[in-house]
Symmetry: C2
Subunit: 299 residues, 2 copies
């Protein structure tokens, strides 16, 4: 089927109790694409600056990701610097340099405008809406956001919610946007705001999926190896949407399996810095851990 993802391509500097890495390949669209490409063809829509290392571009091309709509702009690439401490569940942003992202106007190559599976990873909701206006035959649209936009661009985000099929949020974002503390209530309320499906990611506590037809909840894959959780949510979304695009279905069995793939993909992501682990991941690796997860939760 193929999937198109809009998001960020970034250079991440991350400090955790296990060390510090500078200017790693990162960004929502990157983490999403790496996971998604295990299931389907991925077209990436993003922007990078003049300083963006050629090796990262080569890596993404090697992965088979279509970079036709990755714009190279004069200026600096988007850079994020963050730190995790304690339970590594929450990132403290130390610095953000938007660079070329601040004036990003996404353009989609003509041949990509008919792609039916679309994921709007975390960028400005107005940019997400602009991307969507280019697409001719959307069949399934996923949307992610973050607290910054919930706070500063709420009307744009609420407008966009009406146009998408799946809203993906972490627990705090779901609570902030819905005003509900109980996550089942939050999911229901978010669904009433537009999307027929809501996916709430709870980090180490797994995931809650809501649609009118069914509610699904899965625990995270239990692991003690948590090195760097950056991009885990995007990796989850990438595997989840990738499997949906590959299968072309939305029944309960398919949704469950896509959530399970998201869960195990994210569990690999956190095991090393940046994309170190996911960059060499195969579908066989995912399937092996999927089997383990199945054994863990089936009673």
């Amino acid at each position: 089927m193929g999937i198109l993802v809009l998001g960020t391509v970034a250079l991440d500097t991350v400090k955790t109790p296990f060390g510090k890495k500078d200017f790693m390949l990162g960004g929502s669209a990157v983490h999403f694409s790496i996971a998604s490409t295990l299931f389907t063809e991925v077209s990436l829509v993003a922007v990078v600056g003049e300083d963006f290392p050629a090796k990262h571009i080569e890596f993404l091309l090697d992965k088979g990701i279509d970079l036709t709509s990755l714009i190279h702009c004069p200026g600096k690439s988007f850079k994020w610097q963050g730190e995790y401490s304690g339970d590594l569940n929450c990132a403290l942003t130390l610095n953000t340099e938007l660079g070329v992202l601040s004036s990003f106007n996404p353009s989609v190559a003509a041949k990509q405008r008919d792609i039916q599976y679309i994921f709007l990873a975390n960028v400005d909701p107005d940019v997400q809406a602009r991307l969507l206006s280019h697409m001719r035959r959307p069949r399934l649209i996923g949307l992610d956001s973050m607290n910054f936009w919930i706070k500063h661009k709420r009307p744009s985000l609420v407008r966009l919610l009406k146009k998408v099929d799946i809203f993906v949020a972490n627990d705090q974002e779901a609570r902030d946007l819905s005003g509900e503390i109980n996550l089942v209530k939050a999911a229901k309320k978010l669904s009433r705001m537009g999307p027929r499906m809501v996916l709430i990611k709870k980090g180490e506590h797994g995931v809650l999926f809501y649609s009118k037809a069914f509610t699904i909840t899965l625990p995270a894959y239990p692991t003690e190896k948590v090195i760097d959780p950056t991009g885990a949510g995007d990796t989850f979304a990438g595997a989840f949407m990738g499997y949906l695009a590959k299968s072309g279905k939305l029944d309960i069995a398919t949704i469950k399996k896509s959530l399970a793939y998201g869960t195990v993909a994210a569990s690999f992501n956190i095991e090393d810095f940046g994309t170190a682990k996911t960059s060499c991941l195969t579908l066989a690796d995912l399937n092996k851990r999927l089997k383990e997860l199945k054994k863990i939760v089936t009673f």
Copy 2:
């Protein structure tokens, strides 16, 4: 097989966003027994004061719970007053009147000393150890505690840990006692302190079970009906241990099913104040929801 539980029998006053109830039947041994008695014969070891309402005693007897070792002492019954706000995940203790609990010396009727399944619900670890010294043929010993004892009676608790098979804790207690933030690491470390099995209850996020042979994780039953979570952990433990006692086995399939029973029993407990919901619960109710949970997590 039968199970013996040591714990508190209390009069609980609870305030939540949904109302306030005064002097309800409560306490760790009560919540545990009500759930456990759906699976096996339960003998309760606890103390109450002169003011303890006869109707509560009648209710427990009606449930078939053996109260031979429930001591009636001169003085006031143990009373707890708490309040929940926000996400109802954390109780704020407003007042505790220990009453007869402060000098509680458990005694076990001769005929009960051969019971092989034992659960030491949350009381002073020295009292828990004293109870254990009465038991002649323990086969499976479960232990619960709380932050107060972790802080104020750590050496006693650590000594007791070496004598039990299953340690049951909530996530915060597991972290406090182990010094580990990652819950898989915490469970492993707690297991190295004595118990061959560790069960970490994560409230709305489900449960993590660890033994050397296997790790299991289950999400909570997704519900938006959370009225009063008091006793949910003890209800979980009651159904969990009750099913283990009934089955007499400890293989992975049995442990999984016992965790699932604990999960659904707890999900009923939180749906109303005190024991309002669990007091009229049947095994058929549990089995029905068990089937739903199975459908939710199986992929």
